[in-house]
Amino acid sequence: MTTLKQTALHGTHLEYNARMVEFGGWDMPVQYAGIIAEHLAVRTRAGIFDVSHMGEFIVSGKQALEFLQYACANDAAKLKTGKAHYSILLNQHGGIVDDIYVYRLELNAYMIVVNASNIEKDWMHLSEIATKYDVTLENRSDDNALIAAQGPKTAELLEPVTSADLQSYRKNSVFPSKLCGIDVLMARTGYTGEDGFEIFCAPREAAGLWKELHKLGFAMCGLGARDTLRLEAGFPLYGHEWNDESNILETPFTWVSKEYKDFIGRDAMLAKPKTKMLRGIRMIGRGIPREHMTVKLEGQTIGETTSGTQSPSLKQGIALAYLEKEIELGTRVHLEIRGTDVEAEVCEPVFISRSSPGQ
């Protein structure tokens, strides 16, 4: 039996009676008060999530930008210092190694945040590319705790306890600050579809900061609500919508791929046949979609779901699914749930209106 890894907040989760589950090799809280209550707290007010299990790499040096341009699909040359963007790492076959966030911290220093379950894979992948560039690549995953504060009231709640003028930092800004007297790095980013900040701090400060934020009115949230929130917002999750064989061009995230520049996997990706498209599914009949359910049109299989749940906001079953690319939005389809075909509709893979503060 392998021992599960613990974040700096592990003891705090136990103290507050969170229900713990294994996630990507980590012992993480799946819920505190309950997934629906936490989900709605984030949609209407604000909540905090421990996402310290995610990995952080720092790339610095004269060729940091050149390195990122070759390693990532998005165009890092567009990032000014203090800004961040979503990006994707491809393998040589044009498949997806991981989806990541890239933060430009200084002129020649960037932070890359990667999925917890992919830290080692990404590290090997990026280390190999780094040998060809004049850069220093450091794995700082163990040196950072990460708390995501998310929801429409986040800025209002944080304003009195931070040294930064939060209003001046728009979406995708990253900046050092003091928060509750603690040195932190804050980014106006998130994975819920709401406004919010992701807060990087030293592991030894994390428990104190978590408790201060809870006292300010943030609901403590687990990975269960994080998953339902991201699914309503239509954000992909590695291991579900993305894997080593996925093609960006078969998803709504084609905008991430900047093919006017050279990056690893670009030509292989462009050469791949494009046969399917990532779509949304809304249930019409009764039933809750889950991953790996068959989607049918007039009895014929046209695809498979990659994630599914009951949407706490819509009180309706929702899913993401790869469907044959010809299937149009609005098409009535059936989802096979435990041997029964249940009616559903194909839609855009976004189920709520996403908040875009200060954009």
């Binding site: 819920q31 309950g34 997934i35 269960g224 809750i288 889950r290 009951q310 706490p312 435990r338």
Partner: protein, 126 residues
């Protein structure tokens, strides 16, 4: 956790309340707590003949779907149709308004546990 002493249990977390030859079946307080917010229930049809140990219903929380096994054999004589609109009753009152269905019993499972034995099962999984 609430484990009433007058009920019988399966280690798969169903309870059975036997009154004469009528059995009321639901999931335990421990089970509803482990599942979290229940959002969907699939119940058997009234009149269906079920066998003990047979998967006859499904309870789904936000995260997961769970099969419900009948602790008795017999005919389903009533289902708790209020759960279609208010599945959260299973969380609020698992032994009351959150029951799943009733069966006219012809035979019971040989694997039924009393409250003390079920408590051991639940505590080992907590």
């Amino acid at each position: 956790m609430n484990i009433p002493s007058d009920l019988q249990y399966l280690k798969s977390h169903e309870y059975l309340r036997l009154e004469g030859d009528i059995a009321t079946i639901g999931i335990t307080d421990f089970a509803q707590d482990q599942l979290g917010d229940v959002v969907y229930v699939e119940l058997p049809e009234v009149g269906r003949i079920v066998s003990s140990g047979e998967a006859v219903a499904v309870v789904e929380s936000v995260k997961t779907a769970s099969d419900i096994y009948s602790p008795v054999s017999g005919e389903v004589i009533e289902v708790n149709s209020s759960l279609t609109d208010e599945p959260e009753n299973i969380n609020a009152e698992p032994y009351g308004n959150g029951f799943l269905f009733k069966v006219r019993v012809t035979d019971t499972s040989s694997e039924l546990l009393n409250a003390a034995a079920y408590r051991e099962v639940a505590e080992s999984e907590a």
